[in-house]
Symmetry: C2
Subunit: 138 residues, 2 copies
DNA sequence: TGTTAAATGCAACATTGTTGCATTTAAATT
DNA sequence: AATTTAAATGCAACAATGTTGCATTTAACA
């Protein structure tokens, strides 16, 4: 996923491929795990705070990034997988925070998760986990 | 659960049974579902904003209330069930937001939820659901 | 190359989080 | 019932982020 890929993706989702947007996406990709807002802010110091705010909103609205985790007042953002479409987000994955290395990653459950509550209709599920990740779990 | 009950609970958890604390707990109880911060703020206008902030922190730290849900910048607080102890919170329950009546409630899954990720050690699980609640699902 | 809707930057304000400190108070002790 | 004291509260102040409006700039298209 390079600048060209993101340029195409942005245009597909009817967003102009501007400097700030490409920059943010490349930085998030470099970061590898879900990127906390403070780190995003830090790495995007050159652009206006409001532009960053609106950039995050737009990318989120178009299913290019998503809010992966939230801890206290720190929101972690991640680039959506290729299965996410503008219309339908595939967020059946889990969001995992490792208490050792403190990274937040998107994972898949080994089994399909089934949750039901009698007489309730469930339309969306968000699951946040904490523990020790594969790399730290030695 | 009346003022006396909360007075005892606070003392059990080594917190003084003060006006603001009892007030908050009674208001949250009246509210029945998980109470959004803005509503808490509104109903606690008479006390200082900082006191409210610290009151929420203390009650949370002692397992008397918990953060049930968070949407955008709105945090919903709920009174912990009687199974929650100071040392060990019983938050195996689910947090559900109804998209019709917009209330947030704590629910139980009809089956025990099992989540696992290969090579990961999971220590805590938070599940947030959206859909239509029992009362609205007619 | 020119046009235009979209994006950006700047100013301004709102909300919530957070700390320090002086004053007040709950509750234990005398 | 009065005294004592650690805890709780209120106030001031500042930080961080959210949010809007508007003038200027720019990506994308004709």
């Amino acid at each position: 996923m390079d600048a060209q890929y993101f340029t195409n993706l942005l245009r597909e989702r009817e967003l102009k491929a501007t400097g700030p947007r490409l920059n943010l996406l490349l930085k998030m990709q470099e970061y590898e795990s879900a990127m906390p807002y403070s780190a995003i802010q830090e790495s995007m110091k050159s652009i206006d705070r409001v532009t960053l705010y609106r950039t995050l909103e737009h990318l989120k609205a178009q299913g290019i990034i998503h809010k992966a985790y939230q801890e206290n007042n720190e929101i972690y953002y991640a680039i959506c997988g290729t299965t996410c479409k503008k219309e339908k987000h595939e967020h059946e994955h889990l969001h995992f925070k490792c208490t050792k290395c403190e990274t937040v990653t998107c994972e898949k459950s080994s089994k399909k998760i089934k949750i039901s509550i009698p007489d309730f209709k469930i339309s969306s599920t968000s699951i946040y986990l904490e523990g020790v990740c594969k790399l730290c779990n030695v």
